[in-house]
């Protein structure tokens, strides 16, 4: 597994209800951004993706500086090599399933964001995510919620990202469907060795997938550590934050 290093140095952004202010180095294979709704998780992931510009601070991914207010450095989203999967999947409704999956790969094969030797092939990705039979569908409207998320994940992987940014990918799914999709995320983690930043407010998902957790509350880092150190077993949900249990 590639060792990820996502460093957020004094990243600040004023929001409507609070000021986001994060200072952290994320070093898990799968790091959870955990917190209640409106804690600033999605904003932080958008800052990493280059979809929002922080008021100040520095964002570094591995050896690259993606944004730095001190020097004015700013890498636009198309050159960041991040695989962003929003909550609703956001598949392109006018393209076929295959064209959706290949959208990022085609971009990486041409132009400025070119990658010499992509890590993943279409075959390996679609087989792992079990979406091969879906590829010939003419549109994405007939896909179920779980299929949509897997197609979105395949699309992000084929763009050859250095990190996957998953914004509550299971939030729209009911419990049985969630249980069916979660193993695919674990497979991506284990077979493709792409580090992930995984936004969630579900402790069960964090315990099942992540090895590092950053807890956000009203834009501030409340805690960071291994899931087993931050969560304690509970009846329903099966895990809760230690601070909430005590």
């Amino acid at each position: 597994m590639q060792t990820p290093s996502l460093r957020l140095t004094d990243v600040r952004l004023p929001l409507a209800a609070f000021h986001l202010q994060v200072n952290a180095t994320l070093h898990g294979r799968v790091t959870a951004l955990f917190g209640s709704s409106g804690a600033g998780k999605t904003t932080l992931i958008e800052i990493v993706a280059g979809l929002r510009q922080p008021a100040c601070g520095r964002v570094q991914l591995n050896a690259r500086t993606l944004a730095d207010s001190a020097t004015g450095a700013w890498v636009p989203p198309e050159h960041r090599r991040v695989g962003y999967v929003p909550q609703e999947g956001s598949l392109f409704p006018h393209l076929s399933v295959r064209a959706n999956v290949l959208y990022g790969q085609r971009a990486r094969q041409r132009g400025a964001a070119r990658v010499a030797a992509p890590k993943f092939t279409l075959e390996s990705v679609v087989e792992t995510l079990e979406i091969t039979p879906l590829l010939d569908r003419p549109g994405v409207n007939s896909l179920s919620s779980g299929e949509r998320q897997r197609v979105a994940l395949a699309r992000a992987l084929l763009a050859d990202p250095e990190i996957l940014l998953l914004d509550e990918p299971l939030a729209g799914l009911d419990a049985p469907l969630k249980a069916r999709v979660l193993p695919y995320l674990a497979r991506v983690r284990d077979e493709f060795a792409v580090p992930m930043l995984y936004v969630s407010h579900a402790p069960d998902e964090v315990m099942a997938l992540c090895d590092d957790v950053l807890v956000l509350e009203r834009g501030r880092v409340l805690a960071q550590g291994a899931p087993r150190d931050l969560f304690v077993p509970a009846r329903e949900p099966r895990y809760v934050l230690k601070t909430a249990a005590s």
Binding site: P77, E78, S90, P93
Partner: protein
């Protein structure tokens, strides 16, 4: 139908089509800027663009006449440096129809761009596509229905343009006379039968344009409706 009728019909269709084609690129660009960007002077531009919708068409025609006339700033320049005469020529008909149709197209195109989810454009950027590539591969195809609807509306408006055209192009038979202008002058001359023939042609052309647009748009909607409910499971 007389040869003169056919000439009028052909000229009207040609001038309306050319006027509509001319406004598509600048209209789409302005609509995108209005839908997606904040910039100083935006409210002023919005007002100026909408002005022909609320001004009496003859007033817009008068403004065009003053601008495009031989002594006007634009008309004088074009005549002096390019040798182009504008007023009372076919060019004035095309310009008048374009100006009058422009706000209709911009309004429709703006709504079309606003309806494209920004999130899709953002995702496309993170997948390695530049702004221009995202516009061509995501924004434009998803706004195509609205843009086409706006273009048809603009074309229909151009076909029936009267007030601005009569001011800036006159009503010169065989040169600048359009269906709308000819119907008016034929009624004035008491030639109601000839006017009714052109009226029937107007109804057929406008109806055909709207029917074609509805059919095409309806098919596109069935093919890809981003708002269709998701199946579950």
């Amino acid at each position: 139908m007389t040869a003169e009728d056919w000439q009028i019909i052909g000229f009207t269709l040609w001038a309306a089509a050319l006027g509509t084609l001319l406004i598509l690129p600048p209209g789409a660009a302005l609509a995108w800027l209005l839908a997606r960007r904040s910039w100083p002077g935006k409210a002023l531009v919005e007002t100026l663009v909408a002005l022909p919708l609320v001004l009496p068409p003859v007033a817009t025609g008068l403004i065009l006449l003053k601008l495009l006339g031989r002594r006007g700033p634009v008309g004088g320049f074009l005549e002096k440096f390019c040798g182009l005469e504008i007023v009372f020529t076919w060019r004035a008909v095309v310009i008048a129809t374009a100006v009058m149709s422009f706000p209709l197209f911009v309004r429709a195109a703006r709504v079309a761009f606003e309806e494209v989810p920004v999130r899709l454009e953002q995702v496309a950027r993170t997948l390695g596509r530049s702004r221009a590539q995202v516009f061509l591969s995501i924004t434009l195809p998803l706004a195509a229905r609205g843009l086409t609807g706006g273009a048809v509306l603009a074309f229909a408006r151009a076909l029936g343009e009267f007030g601005a055209t009569v001011m800036v192009a006159g009503n010169i038979p065989g040169k600048t006379a359009t269906i709308a202008l000819s119907i008016y002058s034929l009624v004035q001359l008491g030639q109601d039968d000839a006017a009714l023939r052109l009226l029937a042609v107007s109804v057929v052309i406008a109806g055909a344009a709207l029917w074609a647009a509805e059919t095409w748009l309806g098919r596109r909607k069935k093919k890809a409706d981003p708002l269709a409910p998701l199946p579950h499971g």
